[in-house]
């Protein structure tokens, strides 16, 4: 008979570390999907996810079971991703003159006819990743959670541990930061 999550957690806390494996198996896809939003290289993504699980194992005694385990885990995942962004923020300065041909073409199409540029195109995805990589860590986190994942301010506050007013302030700054980067991109491309 398959054991419930609560039983698995209780077993791990009682010293049976092997009961942690089914939890890793069940929730790793979600943690990987989250990590892939913030890191590009697969080796970095694996390191992030592994760190999330190590933290989850070490702090499992702090899980009180009031909220689902998944919520508790995702909070840890988002915070670990944020730590990753902060530790790698020095690498984020790149030039838009290095746009690939596809990205450049997509941008040209957008300039000629904003409605005609297909947002499902691979070039658009690459371009948005390039822009997100230029954002500061808090801006990238807020834009990802608020705009891309459509989460509410309250949810973001819970996930990040920031207060609601701080999330609002950071969201305002993040949008401005993104606009500034897009303006820089268009200037570099067309001047």
């Amino acid at each position: 008979m398959e054991r419930t999550e609560a039983e698995l957690i209780a077993a791990v806390l009682a010293g049976d570390a092997s009961s942690f494996e089914p939890l890793v198996q069940k929730y790793s896809p979600r943690v990987f999907a989250t990590a892939r939003r913030y890191a590009r290289r697969e080796s970095e993504i694996e390191d992030i996810v592994q760190e999330v699980w190590v933290k989850a194992f070490q702090k499992l005694s702090s899980f009180r079971g009031e909220a689902p385990f998944e919520h508790w885990l995702m909070r840890m995942a988002v915070r670990t991703c944020y730590d990753f962004l902060r530790s790698h923020q020095r690498n984020r300065e790149t030039s838009f003159s290095e746009l690939t041909e596809d990205e450049g073409d997509w941008l040209e199409r957008f300039v000629k006819d904003p409605g005609g540029a297909d947002e499902r195109a691979d070039a658009a995805r690459q371009l948005v990743n390039r822009v997100l990589e230029q954002l500061s860590p808090p801006a990238r986190l807020v834009i990802t959670l608020l705009e891309i994942e459509d989460r509410s301010v309250k949810e973001i506050a819970k996930l990040t541990g920031w207060s609601v007013p701080l999330v609002k302030v950071r969201a305002f700054r993040a949008r401005a930061e993104m606009k500034k980067i897009l303006a820089k991109m268009s200037k570099e491309k067309y001047l």
Partner: protein
């Protein structure tokens, strides 16, 4: 270029292309092996943390005793206030005693 529209378009592009959730082969085994290694190391971590915790009373108790000795020792218990004089007397006690014997 309309940056507001471009921003909207790029956000839509990110939404339209969510990241994959595939997990590398035997990833959970790797995590479990890492946790096992980590638990071996944790014995040393626990020892180090116990030592650090022990350091706090080791510093605190002498400090408290020093403070207690400093404030409790007053002129009423007959000791001299002049610590340097006491030190002189202690160090030179043997010499003074020798001198007294010679004089006698």
């Amino acid at each position: 270029m309309n940056t507001t529209e471009l921003q909207r378009k790029l956000i839509a592009a990110a939404k339209a292309n969510p990241p994959g959730d595939h997990v590398p082969y035997a990833f959970e085994k790797r995590v479990m092996a890492h946790l096992k290694d980590k638990r071996g190391m944790d014995v040393w971590a626990a020892w180090a943390s116990a030592l650090w915790r022990a350091a706090v009373p080791c510093v605190g108790v002498p400090l408290l005793l020093s403070a207690w000795a400093f404030f409790a020792a007053g002129p009423s218990n007959g000791a001299s206030n002049d610590l340097s004089q006491d030190l002189d007397n202690t160090l030179l006690a043997a010499a003074v005693q020798d001198q007294a014997q010679v004089n006698w």
